[in-house]
């Protein structure tokens, strides 16, 4: 019984992690940008959801729209400050810039919202149903459903539209892409925007799921997103999503084995084990282009 309960918790938590991993993979792999701001993007998404709740009297739709608005605005600023200038410069420069931007973001939110833990209102209600003696909150189902819908939209966007082709072209070879008439700046901006939007929405779901948010939670979050997307070799969205799901399930079972304080350790260990044994991630038959090509770009 306990096992099934933990599995369900793990699945809904893992769905959020999967969404984060998808956003990060999109930025780092598909578009080929380096971003250390991602955890703070998710954090900002959670906080903008929190602010929107008090602004719009806990209207779910308006909250979602507000979150999307805030994270896309942030992503445009991020792109202008940290990425657009340095597309052809050595990668560490843009990386350092995003670290600086992350510091600014975290501390700005900390100054505005304060240092203490904020309680997120229960946007999606607290009702639940019982199935064979297990209580399952509707929230968990909603979260999984939202994540699946978002994944479907994204997969359509990336694989079936011209925008998706452009994004992948830019990630493979910027010079060649610009030669055939793709606006590289615009495309990377768009890729970063989509990635940050997904991150913001993941932050919203995270806030709803856990019910409490902190300005400093970005570090642990970015670790989870990174470890999941590294498992996919940073380029493979389906594998990254799957890894996020696995991570959520692992984490929930680890609570039964280890003390509570060690929970965040799981994702770090997961990450390091992956990097030791499988540094290029798993590339199943979804393979479109290898990491080497992405790095080369």
């Amino acid at each position: 019984m306990y096992f099934v309960e933990q599995l369900i918790n793990g699945l809904s938590q893992g769905a959020i992690y999967a969404l984060m991993a998808i956003g990060f993979t999109l930025i780092a792999g598909e578009v080929g940008l380096v971003s250390f701001t991602y955890g703070d993007t998710v954090m900002l998404g959670a906080f903008s959801a929190y602010w929107a709740c008090s602004l719009f009297a806990e209207n779910f739709l308006l909250t979602v729209l507000f979150t999307i608005l805030v994270s896309s605005l942030m992503s445009i600023v991020l792109h202008a400050v940290c990425m657009a200038q340095f597309l052809d410069a050595p990668k560490h420069i843009s990386m350092i810039c995003t670290i600086g931007f992350g510091i600014i973001l975290k501390n700005a939110v900390q100054l505005i919202a304060g240092y203490e833990v904020k309680a997120m209102p229960e946007l999606l209600g607290r009702s639940y149903f019982e199935l064979g003696g297990i209580r399952i909150g509707y929230v968990k189902l909603y979260i999984v459903a939202i994540v699946i819908v978002l994944c479907a939209i994204l997969s359509f966007l990336l694989n079936r539209t011209k925008t998706g082709v452009r994004l992948r072209a830019v990630s493979q070879d910027r010079k060649a892409a610009s030669l055939i008439g793709i606006d590289v700046q615009r495309t990377t901006r768009l890729g970063n925007l989509i990635g940050c939007m997904i991150g913001g929405l993941a932050g919203l779901l995270y806030a709803i799921y856990y019910g409490s948010i902190l300005p400093t939670m970005g570090g642990a979050i970015s670790m989870k997103a990174m470890s999941a997307s590294v498992l996919g070799g940073l380029c493979n969205i389906p594998v990254a999503a799957f890894a996020g799901l696995l991570l959520g399930i692992f984490e929930n079972f680890s609570i039964a084995l280890f003390p509570q304080g060690y929970r965040d350790l799981i994702s770090f260990l997961f990450l390091i084990l992956v990097l030791v044994f499988k540094p290029h991630g798993f590339e199943f038959r979804f393979k479109k282009h290898s990491r080497k090509e992405a790095e080369h770009a």
């Binding site: 420069i93 350092i96 600086g100 975290k106 501390n107 304080g261 390091i272």
Partner: protein, 335 residues
């Protein structure tokens, strides 16, 4: 203007050096305020931390953003050895250095084949792992309560108590470490590091064993960090895990980036500048980290190698596209 000043100083190196050395040595005697002396000790301590990070980031092309992990290990090794085993400061300095460098090797082993962003992610993860383990291993580290009652430093049987004496101890450690670093950097090892930073493939083709020298780089960088961490434990007398959060890593990192990577002077200058800013704007201490972020981005925009960084290295290249464009334009106008 700046170049002229630098050239002037370079031409008259000795007198400038003597004045500088006298000023540094006489600082705690000239300054009557104990508060300012405390700041000076902290600044010199961070100079050592920043220098050790610069060895890793500035010389070998790695990008470690988890320096707080090494600081934590050095500090706790010293604190625990001093309180539980009762060893003296001068014995613990090398021990905590060696322990920390072992952990440096531990970080390096999984990252052997990684570079760039992956390596940064691992170092960040390492710092957090260290912090979480130290926080939760209550039986050894006393958990969230921290290590209390670390004794003061003894020199020839005398207890050092005043800030002035601590200032001289850390100054001695800094100068000694800088001397060692200088010697290392001007040996085969240092040149190998720099060649790896400039171009790993070319370095490899010239017979530089990448894995070996990268490992040495991490070990040496972590060693000096452990030395500084040991002093930190003895100076603060009390350590806990809140001193080693990600913010602390970024604090040291911003010193290295702003001051300059790839030169010995850079991190020293950076630690001085950042600490000066922090202390001057103490009334606005909440905005401190915000300012660090802005400074980091500004440095990358204006001068990516930092104020006094290695300007002839790969660290100094920025916006290459623009440079290529302007070169092409110049060519066209010539034609």
């Amino acid at each position: 203007m700046l170049n002229r000043a630098v050239n002037y100083v370079k031409a008259h190196r000795l007198p400038f050096f003597i004045v500088f050395a006298v000023l540094v040595l006489a600082f705690p005697i000239i300054i009557p305020s104990n508060f300012v002396r405390g700041i000076a000790v902290r600044t010199v301590l961070y100079m050592l931390f920043a220098s050790s990070l610069n060895l890793i980031n500035g010389y070998c092309g790695h990008f470690s953003i988890g320096h707080a992990g090494f600081m934590c290990i050095g500090c706790y090794t010293a604190g625990l050895l001093a309180t539980k085993a009762g060893l003296g400061f001068w014995l613990i300095v090398p021990i905590s250095g060696i322990v920390t460098s072992l952990f440096g090797l531990l970080v390096f082993l999984p990252t052997n084949r990684l570079s760039g962003m992956y390596l940064s992610i691992v170092t960040l993860g390492f710092a957090e792992i260290v912090r979480i383990i130290v926080l939760n291993w209550t039986s050894l580290t006393n958990g969230p309560l921290g290590v209390k009652g670390i004794p003061s430093i003894k020199l020839f049987g005398l207890k050092l108590t005043s800030t002035t004496e601590y200032y001289y101890v850390i100054l001695f450690l800094l100068v000694l470490s800088l001397f060692c670093m200088y010697r290392i950097l001007h040996s085969r090892v240092g040149r190998a590091w720099m060649s790896i930073r400039e171009n790993p493939d070319a370095a490899c083709s010239l017979g530089v064993e990448l894995a070996k020298y990268k490992a040495i780089n991490f070990v040496v960088g972590a060693f000096f960090c452990g030395v500084a961490g040991c002093f930190m434990a003895f100076y603060y007398r009390y350590i806990d895990t809140t001193m080693f959060t990600i913010d602390e890593s970024f604090n040291v990192l911003s010193m290295v980036i702003v001051g300059g990577m790839g030169t010995l002077v850079g991190p020293i200058l950076g630690a001085f500048v950042i600490n000066l800013i922090t202390e001057t704007f103490r009334f606005a201490s909440e905005y401190r980290m915000l300012l660090y972020g802005i400074l980091i981005i500004l440095t990358m925009w204006i001068r990516p190698q930092g104020i006094a960084g290695a300007s002839n290295s790969v660290l100094a290249t920025k916006r290459m596209a623009k440079r290529v464009q302007s070169a092409a334009k110049a060519k066209r106008s010539e034609a």
